[in-house]
Amino acid sequence: MTEPIISVPDLGDFDEVDVIEILVKPGDTIAEGDSVVTLESEKAAMELPAPIAGIVKTVHVALGDKVGEGAALLTVEAISKPGIPVDKATDEPRKAPPTQPPPPAPPPRQETAAGRGQAESPVKASPSIRRFARELGVDLQAVQGSGPGGRILEENVKDFVRQTGRRPAPAALPQVRSTDFSRFGPTEVVQPDRVQSVVADRMHRAWLNVPHVTQHQDADITELEDRRKHLAAKNAGSGAKLTLLAFLVKALAISLRNFPKFNTAFDDTGRLILKHYCHIGVAVDAPGGLFVPVIRDADRKDVFEIARAVADFASRARAGKLTAADMQGGCMTVSNQGGIGGSAFTPIVNAPETAILGASRARISPSWDGQAFVPRLLLPLDLSYDHRVVNGADAARFLDGYCRLLSGTEALLPDTR
């Protein structure tokens, strides 16, 4: 019997791709669907899932190798793994009748890895360890025990999970229990794609680690919009459209210079790192998901340059052609939902940044000018910040100053740079 080889599947448009990450090593036990290597094309990186469960015998590729369809990646020794029973989704009877556990059970006669049909000793694990493994979906046959006589201990199960990448939830965090939603209606299961997984992971980390506060204020952009439209019309045809977002980025760059506490990172040893550069991230809603490309040195760019950079990023995001480098190094992020709607939201800080600015849709509102209500164009802004770094008063000052910048317009225009 030959051992199964996992090879590179059909890659679509690409003849060859780079191996940028090898996630397993010989001796590892992999479950069906576990990622084994990460391949990167010009377009995207993709993790390759194992088509079968088994124990990795040989890894045939090295980091940096270029591989094409059919190239051997791994040789594995197949193992069969009993699945965890899952409640069916409907009231329909199960097709095959479930099997009755035969208590008192004779010891299992398992096919050994080598394929011989010899009687095996039962796995040396206590009932509580067997329950622990069951809850984590770990097959104890694959776990090496370090207790007396090879007994499997709790730490062995944890180590196994760590090695195979199926992390148990941090002990301190209570889990949201999944419910059998089929009790309420039909359901289906969808695996999140890579981008969504990365976003989910980032957002979860930020949400758990950063004590968030969100400050709200409206900026009067009546004059700014007049000037912007005037400038946009005057420069029509000379490159990218001059958008409000470009002004928001420009104003943010200036605010970061005025409030250096917002241009920081709180590192994992509790130190505060002050940044003497000013790169602004811009959240882009693309078909492939949420991307945050970063505009370098926004403080040294004028609004036309910023507008061109944003337009370039947006088109590349839509084409799936943003690189990792495009999305690194941000100091603070702008998330502009003005094009969609809404009156306020509470953005999550893109940690390890310290703050994020959200903008909703500008609206004409009555504003008291001292004598009468006059119609003004107000832009609702939301500043979420890391309260470990920034105090409420600082945040109020920051946002108020930011609003003044937008109302004043002068500081933002190219000739005053």
Binding site: D87, R94, Q100, P101, P104, A119, P122, P127, D180
Partner: protein, 469 residues
């Protein structure tokens, strides 16, 4: 659903049902339990394990006291007052039932005294009217005695275990039909209380699931104290011989053609209570023998319905039902729970007791399992000899290569309590060295387990063991 957790309906208030109900309530489910009898506890508490063990205790002490004559202490002939004995037993059952009721109240489990039958996978109809909707149901309706054909319809002296445990009369001449666990316990009970007991069994061996060597000491004692033990013998017919007696016709073995008895106790098996609860309307399947098949999470083929205890098949044991009840309740509450047991102890509360757990030799032969065994005879235990219990034995079965403990069987005084150590050892994945190296108190019956393990490990000094090749 208005608020709170899933609405769980439990059918049956025996050990499986009430355990499931209590565990689910503790995990946040809103639980309704339907039980046809006024008290919780099922067969086990009301007409099974608990009253029979209380009465067997009386019989065993009586027998033991009489046995002291051989050691120089002579008691008079015991005076047995059935009515007083029945009152003692009823008080015991009553107080335990009250305890369960208070445990249910404390958990706000809603108990309805009624019978229920499914009308769909989400609803039951109650016999006294009305319906109940549920998100999940656990079937724990238990089992009942069966009777072979050819018996008189109703006769005051034709008893089943429930009738016998009412203990309103003490027959002088009793035939026990069935040499299984219940039949032999009843035989020991009435024989210990002074009845002349005969036992009749279809199979060539008493306790046909149990290994022969464990049954042998019991059979030997029963042969002395019982009138007859007829194995490989069928009953052709039973007829009333007036109000106070029955005539039984036998077929096969050494049995006479017919014989007259004051009472006949039928203990030929139990069948699951799955026939009158509308399972077909919920779509729940049963096998040919009427048992509901489940997976190791106690799920039936219908996702909203679970089953635990006797309805899921043999062994029909309260302690199996309670563990299954917990598994079902935990799964209903969204946990990943499984009935993953390596050893379920079986105990026969005869005199001497017999207990076994995990693998038996009969199973090993049937499934072709390679095993070794170590048997420590109680003749070599000072404690057992001193108490007149030298007829027992302790046997360990273990894996040939790893010497992992696979099964244990004990015949002798207190075997049912002794077996617990073996159950723990098997569940923990212990091998015979672990058991041998654990210090057992001397002189005790429990020591025999340690000594059997030493025998298996080749380190025993209490016996002489020729060198293995």
């Amino acid at each position: 659903m208005t608020d709170g957790g899933a609405r769980l309906l439990v059918l049956g208030g025996g050990p499986g049902g009430y355990t499931a109900a209590f565990r689910a309530a503790d995990l946040g489910c809103r639980v309704t339990l339907v039980e046809r009898h006024p008290a919780l506890g099922g067969v086990c508490l009301n007409v099974g394990c608990i009253p029979s063990k209380a009465l067997l205790h009386l019989a065993a002490v009586t027998r033991e006291a009489q046995g002291l004559a051989a050691h120089g202490i002579v008691f008079g002939k015991p005076q047995i007052h059935p009515r007083q004995i029945a009152a003692f037993k009823n008080d015991l059952v009553g107080s335990l039932g009250k305890g369960l009721a208070s445990l249910a109240r404390a958990r706000k489990v809603n108990i309805i005294q009624d019978t229920a039958a499914f009308v769909s996978p989400r609803q039951v109809r109650l016999a006294n009217g009305g319906t109940l909707d549920f998100d999940r149901a656990i079937v724990a309706t238990g089992s009942r005695n069966t009777a072979p054909p050819g018996l008189p319809d109703h006769h005051p002296r034709l008893l089943d275990s429930t009738g016998a445990l009412r203990f309103d009369t003490l027959p002088k001449r009793l035939l026990v039909m069935g040499g299984g666990v219940i039949g032999l316990e009843m035989a020991c009970l009435f024989e210990g209380m002074g009845a002349r007991v005969s036992i009749v069994e279809n199979e060539p061996q008493l306790l046909s699931d149990c290994d022969d060597d464990l049954v042998a000491p019991l059979r030997k004692r029963l042969e002395k104290s019982c009138a007859d033990i007829f194995t490989s013998t069928r009953i052709r017919r039973v007829e009333a011989a007036g109000e106070d007696a029955l005539t039984v016709w036998f077929d096969g073995g050494d049995a006479p053609a017919s014989e007259r008895f004051d009472a006949v106790l039928v203990a030929v098996g139990r069948r699951p209570n799955t026939d009158a609860i509308g399972l077909e309307h919920a779509g729940v399947e049963t096998n040919q023998r009427g048992f509901i098949e489940t997976d190791d999470g106690q799920r039936t083929n219908i996702p909203s319905i679970y089953a635990v205890g006797d309805v899921t098949g043999p062994p029909m044991l309260a302690h199996k039902a309670t563990h299954q009840g917990k598994v079902a309740a935990e799964n209903v509450a969204g946990r990943a729970s499984a009935f993953d047991k390596r050893a379920i102890p079986s105990v026969v509360y005869t005199d001497p007791e017999i207990a076994w757990a995990g693998l038996t030799e009969k199973q090993a032969r049937r499934h072709n399992v390679d095993y070794k065994k170590a048997v420590f005879p109680w003749k070599a235990s000072g404690r057992a000899l001193g108490a007149g219990h030298g007829d027992g034995l302790t046997k360990l079965l273990y894996d040939v290569r790893g010497k992992t403990l696979l099964g244990a069987g004990i015949c002798g005084h207190g075997a049912g309590d002794l077996i617990a150590e073996a159950v723990l050892a098997i569940e923990m994945g212990a091998d015979v060295r672990d058991v041998a190296l654990a210090v057992h108190p001397h002189p005790t019956y429990s020591e025999t387990i340690g000594l059997a393990a030493e025998l298996a490990d080749g380190v025993i000094t209490d016996l002489f063991q020729p060198k293995s090749r």
